[in-house]
Symmetry: C2
Subunit: 90 residues, 2 copies
């Protein structure tokens, strides 16, 4: 959760969700969100480390793609916490 708790990383993740399963190069994230390369690289590495996104190299460019399983796990976890005896949580 901590990884998505950071504004910049959440913005990156949301952007990757928006662009869809084809993914997008790091450079385009950089341009779209206006984040310096070194900063971006750091945040991307953290998102990769928890499995929220993945990186695939295609020649010189690295495509980033949102990965849903970890997010689904997170939602399930929150739901099980939340709904512990609370019927109004769907």
């Amino acid at each position: 959760m901590a990884e998505l708790g950071n504004t910049t990383r959440l913005a990156i993740f949301r952007y990757l969700v928006k662009v869809g399963p084809a993914g997008v190069p790091v450079g385009q994230i950089q341009k779209a969100l206006g984040i310096p390369g070194s900063t971006l690289s750091h945040h991307i590495a953290r998102l990769v480390s928890v499995g929220l996104i993945k990186k695939d190299r295609v020649s010189r460019t690295l495509y980033c793609t949102a990965q849903y399983p970890v997010l689904e796990e997170l939602i399930d976890f929150l739901q099980s916490e939340c709904c512990a005896g609370v019927p109004e949580c769907s």
Copy 2:
């Protein structure tokens, strides 16, 4: 999200969910989780600040209770992020 991203705060929140809607005094959280009072107070203040829990004074003791609306909002947010064009997210 950042508030639940901290291990200690998540433990506090989970404990409050577990004890249910009657809530529990700060002192009991302290004993149950073994967190020094000042540290605990700090984390509780943060959870209160985002509306994840509430505090009610009953004479000398302060009862803490988990609040679900904010958590539900969070789940909805994640679900809308996740399910943006991804059918396998329920």
